[in-house]
């Protein structure tokens, strides 16, 4: 109950401030989730940090939904340690030109999380101080977490995706 009221308050405040830039609000397993756009993402993050006490950046990562108009979702998890609320923010960006402003201007800790996301998904964080690969070698050439890159040898007949339910 308490969690829901907190989430509602946050939702109301965000809608007041950003209007229709905050969409697709849902609460899977009590965690307030919404979608926003890349032109306002830094404003949203700063607003959450400075005004709504989401002082802690838990995580940045991405998800690839191939074949869609905006096929890469960059996902931010924030934590309000004082009121013990978490929040999840998603920004869908285009697969062909995956760029988004960097969050290192809001949290220094975003640095390596964004490098990891760049390494695995090829998301280019504009304004990042040091956007290099972090886990894979520099001349890998691909961003391996994208769905078009198979895990194993694609010629094997026993490891087809259809045998794994997709």
């Amino acid at each position: 109950m308490e969690e829901t009221t907190l989430n509602n308050n946050i939702h109301v405040k965000l809608t007041e401030k950003f209007g229709e830039k905050v969409t697709a609000v849902s609460e899977p397993y009590g965690l307030l989730t919404f979608v926003t756009y890349k032109d306002v993402i830094i404003n949203v993050l700063s607003y959450l940090k400075d005004e709504l006490k989401f002082n802690f950046l838990t995580d940045i990562t991405a998800v690839h939904y191939p074949g869609q108009n905006h096929g890469i979702a960059v996902v931010y998890h924030l934590n309000n340690m004082v009121e013990r609320v978490r929040i999840r923010i998603k920004v869908f960006i285009s697969e062909q030109n995956p760029t988004i402003p960097t969050a290192t201007t809001v949290w220094k800790g975003a640095n390596w999380m964004e490098r990891e996301t760049y390494d695995l998904f090829g998301v280019k964080f504009e304004g990042h101080p040091d956007l290099r690969r972090i886990l894979n070698m520099d001349d890998l050439g691909v961003h391996p977490m994208l769905k078009q890159y198979p895990l194993e040898d694609p010629n094997r007949v026993d490891k087809k995706d259809e045998f794994f339910g997709r």
Binding site: D59, V63, H77, W107, N136, D138, M145, L151, G165, R166
Partner: protein
């Protein structure tokens, strides 16, 4: 892409700085870490960390494995406390499936998780001792890790990469020998821990080496998304066990130790006190278990929990469940879930997106070592090389969790 790469050689003959490749396999770094340091005498002028030496693409592999086959992958994140990772993963899936655990299972899990926390902190604190020159403490307390592994062995058959428990509970009940070993541990460990503290905590040399070294303010720690003992040593009382209780941690009475300056000495003290608190929690769990109905070691969820082999051979329904679970045909809701547990090094998060297939659509591990370690190079600037070494030990960076 390569514009900002570390320099591996000294090109400038006039330069008074020395480039040192600390690692990837340096005996003082306890793992595969490379730091390219620019040294002015013994002082570090600048440093660049290179990681990824044991990157095994677990997130990619996890997209092609049914849920129960992902548990062994989590073993290999922070391999010093694998059971916490295993339980964190089980609880993530249970949260997705909305399974409620019986209290007895929660308490058994708490025992296992706190034992692994102790074993994790033993490694870190004894190695700080080792790196400051006190080999005795390392050899002395390390035997209790062996005792903890014996308990794990009794419960699940494995020692280091445990694959302990199942989605929905444990694969078998704790036997009498396991409880006897836990009780023996609870009796003997506090004595040894006290002696360990007597050797280090008020030791003049140890204090001189650690106090005031690598101080971190709480603002900086939060800015860099630090969690776990490092954040608490800096003075922020954030612990997932209290902030976001899981596995019935709310039933236990324990304290969260908090430091003030965030230096190496504070981190050592925080970890030591956490070991005492873990002992307290295990003692309470053992007492609580006595009042719980015996023999319950998993939730009653036949759709997700493997039936015993005896049943599979003699009972049609059990055979069907067995087949469906092994083939990964469980009906999990199409949803996304984030679940965090307090690992040995901080908030270990699992972000799971399920699309109804047999495997996760996406699984992301929020690995505390990875996020904590990014501050190592910036904070080493201006530090003595020998201080940077113990700074790294006190951050307890585990290579498996760093690279995933």
């Amino acid at each position: 892409m390569n514009h900002n790469h570390p320099v591996f050689t000294d090109n400038d003959p006039q330069s008074e700085l020395v480039t040192l490749n600390l690692g990837p396999t340096h005996p003082a770094t306890h793992g595969v870490f490379q730091n390219v340091l620019q040294l002015d005498g013994e002082r570090i002028v600048s440093g660049v960390s290179t990681i990824g030496y044991i990157h095994r693409a677990f997130e990619k592999i996890a997209e092609h494995r049914p849920f129960y086959q992902i548990t062994p992958l989590t073993d290999r994140l922070n391999y010093c406390s694998s059971p916490i990772n295993n339980m964190g993963w089980h609880m993530t899936v249970e949260k997705l499936l909305n399974i409620q655990m019986p209290k007895r299972v929660d308490y058994l899990r708490v025992i296992i998780m706190e034992l692994s926390r102790i074993s994790d902190h033993i490694i870190c604190n004894t190695i700080i001792g080792q790196d400051t020159g006190a080999t005795t403490t390392f050899l002395y307390l390390f035997q209790f890790r062996e005792h903890i592994y014996e308990i794990f062995e009794e419960v699940c058959g494995a020692r280091l990469t445990t694959n302990i428990g199942r989605i929905g509970g444990f694969e078998r009940d704790f036997n009498e020998i396991a409880f006897a070993k836990i009780n023996k541990f609870l009796k003997e460990f506090p004595v040894a821990l006290k002696e360990f503290e007597n050797l280090l905590t008020r030791n003049r040399i140890f204090i001189d080496r650690t106090a005031g070294v690598a101080e971190v303010s709480k603002e900086t720690a939060l800015e860099y998304s630090w969690t776990g003992p490092l954040l608490r040593a800096a003075g922020v009382d954030y612990d997932v066990r209290v902030a976001d209780p899981y596995s019935s941690y709310q039933d236990f009475d324990f304290e969260i130790p908090v430091g003030t300056s965030g230096d190496i000495y504070d981190r050592y003290l925080v970890r030591n006190e956490e070991m005492w608190q873990s002992v307290r929690i295990i003692e309470q769990a053992v007492v609580k278990l006595k009042t719980e109905p015996k023999g319950i070691f998993h939730a009653d969820v036949p759709d997700f929990y493997l039936p015993p082999k005896q049943e599979v051979y003699n009972n049609m329904e059990a055979l069907i469940y067995h087949f469906k679970i092994v083939m990964g045909e469980i009906d999990a809701p199409k949803a996304e879930v984030y679940h965090a547990v307090e690992g040995g090094n901080g908030e270990l998060g699992f972000y799971l997106i399920n699309d109804g297939g047999r495997t996760p659509y996406r699984l992301h591990f929020r690995r505390p070592s990875f996020i904590n370690y990014q501050m190592f190079a910036p904070m080493s600037e201006g530090m003595l090389l020998s201080d940077a070494i113990i700074n790294m030990s006190s951050m307890n960076i585990i290579a498996g969790e760093l690279d995933a």
